[in-house]
């Protein structure tokens, strides 16, 4: 991009009133220093048209709108969103009559901001549907290699001291189609929507295990849910005694049925499947159970045909959520490139963005609390001059893990298994402004 191009944009209404700001280009194909984020009146993708025209030029005369002239609706018991945002929905496949209750719904990442996913839009994955559990009848049993097996009621558990932590949750199979030989024509939601972020409140699992008294020979906990599949996973005791919690609240309200009401296990940073929902049984043992979902599924077969079992932490990862797949840039000008980044092994320290397919990179601004194993929102301004571009983001975590390219990930892992994809996402922008998933 040349300085002349910048001038042209400046003359278009967006930037000329702030001509004192020197738009420092920090990487190829239009990336602008992140320090300009606050200085520019940036428009999100697709909404640039209105801000690039002066109101007077458009012949607008502002009037008092109708809703300012009559009383509005009353307060109500449980909130609803604007009828104008009801199009923001999770995406799920058609129900399979041969697999009742199986399936997933994906968060609309491209329509959300910040780093917390609303409970109604948090992704879901079920193996036998959502049970309708009466908390008064639900029990949590801790037994096996303990001094005293114990059973807890929901009411008992509500009296325990709790902690609140912000964490991401990601399905092991998220982004799995990117292992495939050809790039799927998808959106940030359809390709990457099995990740969400929330504040989880619950009881440190170690508190409850200590009360039952862990026997010295115990090495694993075997956790089972109360759904129709009685879904189970084995988790090493050392991890269970670390930052694992029995989660009772999500974003301040009781965990919803689709997320495990009345209680779920929550294993921070790890593949979502081990955060067993509708938790009803914890059995301590010397060996894992080798449940179906830790042998047949959720295992990673390598190119040498050996399969890795119990691969828990999710990789260092980021994805640009806007502009992203199937969006259209309607006008040239400055856009805010934004997305989310996360790591199962720490916090996000750095996100770099490229607009030229990885030839040059610029640091994005990371905002909000950069807490451990949580989503981080990143942003950087980008000047689109109508040319073709490939937008990418690359995350680095607090342990120094750098998000790999798709090519290096697939070369290393092969594609026999499609779990734990965390390669760099490439969104191509063509000269018409269409954005599409590509391998680059």
């Amino acid at each position: 991009m040349s300085d002349k191009d910048l001038e042209k944009v400046a003359g278009n209404g967006l930037i000329n009133r702030r001509s004192d700001i020197d738009l420092e280009k920090v990487a190829g194909n239009g990336l602008i220093n992140r320090r300009h984020l606050l200085g520019l009146g940036l428009a999100g993708a697709g909404s640039l048209a209105s801000s690039s025209l002066l109101a007077a030029d458009a012949g607008l005369n502002l009037e008092i709108p109708g809703w300012s002239k009559q009383p509005g609706a009353n307060a109500n018991g449980y909130g609803t969103r604007s009828r104008f945002t009801e199009n923001i929905q999770r995406m799920s496949g058609a129900p399979n009559p041969l697999y009742p209750g199986g399936g997933a719904s994906r968060s609309p990442l491209h329509e959300l901001q910040g780093s917390i996913t609303p409970n109604s839009l948090h992704f879901e994955r079920h193996h036998a549907g959502i049970p309708d559990i009466d908390p008064a009848q639900h029990k949590l049993v801790i037994h096996g290699l303990v001094r005293q097996p114990l059973v807890f009621s929901y009411e008992d558990l509500l009296r325990y001291p709790m902690v609140s932590k912000i964490y991401f949750l990601e399905c092991s199979g998220n982004s799995g189609s990117l292992f495939g030989p050809n790039p799927a024509d998808g959106t940030a939601q359809s390709l990457h929507g099995l990740v969400s972020g929330a504040e989880w409140t619950g009881i440190p699992l170690s508190t409850l295990l200590d009360e039952a008294g862990v026997e010295p020979e115990a090495r694993w906990i075997n956790a089972v849910g109360a759904d129709a599949a009685s879904m189970g996973r084995s988790i090493p005791l050392n991890r269970a005694m670390d930052d694992v919690m029995l989660a009772l609240y999500q974003n301040g309200e009781p965990v919803r049925p689709a997320q495990g009401y009345p209680m779920r296990l929550f294993v921070p940073g790890c593949e979502g499947n081990i955060s067993v929902k509708w938790l009803t049984q914890i059995k301590l043992s010397t060996e894992p159970t080798h449940f179906r979902d830790e042998t047949s599924k959720y295992t990673d077969t390598r190119l040498d045909r050996k399969s890795l079992q119990f691969t828990f932490p999710m990789g260092t990862k980021s994805v640009i959520t806007s502009p992203s797949g199937k969006m259209k840039l309607e006008r040239q000008g400055v856009y805010q490139v934004t997305g989310i980044a996360w790591s199962g092994r720490g916090s996000i320290r750095r996100v770099e963005v490229s607009a030229d397919g990885g030839r040059s990179w610029a640091d994005a601004m990371i905002e909000s609390h950069q807490s451990e194993k949580a989503l981080a929102r990143f942003r950087i301004p980008w000047q689109w001059n109508g040319g073709s571009a490939v937008l990418q983001s690359r995350a680095t975590d607090s342990q120094g893990n750098v998000q790999p390219s798709r090519t290096s990930l697939v070369t290393e892992k092969g594609n026999i298994s499609t779990y734990h994809y965390h390669g760099i996402q490439s969104w191509a922008v063509n000269t018409a402004g269409d954005v599409a998933n590509v391998y680059a």
């Binding site: 697999y99 049993v141 075997n222 879904m231 043992s285 060996e287 449940f291 050996k306 691969t311 828990f312």
Partner: protein
């Protein structure tokens, strides 16, 4: 004894006393944090609740069955999804065949991939059939998994599967897995 030595000893004594006081107050604090609302229960009270069947054989019920018996159940309760011959109606429902060492991308099934026969018992008992999980008796589970093992050529159709004989079954891919649970 020289003066510095006495002072050193006295300091050590003070440090030890402080440590003991700290330990006592810490342990009383820990006791105060024990909420203790769980109700004691015995393992015998969990017999009908605990469905965990690990490879060490500790979770199998009584009962027994053969593949010949299992075919009757399979045809009626399982074949709609898994097909009469276990070849499945989708990639995820295929139960039979495959080879982990095949040149092309391996097809992973109970026969080619699953490392433990216990997993088959555990999963069928807790989650199958998908439209009526936990509706099979212990013997029916032995029968139907004997049939799935038979379809994979792992047992013959007259083998009586029970909590003892299941321990002798070697799954073809039993050495195919690497425990990564402690990987950082």
């Amino acid at each position: 004894m020289s003066m510095p030595n006495i002072i050193e000893k006295r300091n050590k004594l003070v440090a030890l006393s402080l440590a003991i006081i700290a330990l006592i107050s810490f342990s009383s604090m820990m006791q105060a944090q024990t909420i203790g609302l769980g109700t004691p229960i015995s393992e015998s009270q969990l017999q009908g609740f605990d469905l965990i069947a690990p490879p060490n054989g500790s979770g199998y019920p009584d009962g027994s069955g053969t593949a010949v018996q299992g075919k009757v159940i399979f045809d009626r309760r399982c074949a709609a999804c898994h097909a009469m011959d276990g070849s499945g109606t989708s990639g995820n429902t295929r139960l039979v065949g495959g080879n982990m060492q095949s040149a092309e991308r391996p097809i992973r099934t109970v026969g080619s991939y699953w490392p433990h026969a216990s997993t088959l018992f555990d999963y069928v008992r807790r989650a199958m059939p998908a439209d009526a999980p936990k509706s099979l008796s212990g013997s029916e589970v032995y029968q139907v998994i004997a049939y799935v093992l038979f379809l994979n050529g792992i047992v013959d159709d007259s083998m009586v599967l029970n909590k003892d004989s299941i321990m002798d079954i070697d799954m073809p891919n039993k050495d195919g897995f690497i425990d990564s649970s402690q990987a950082l």
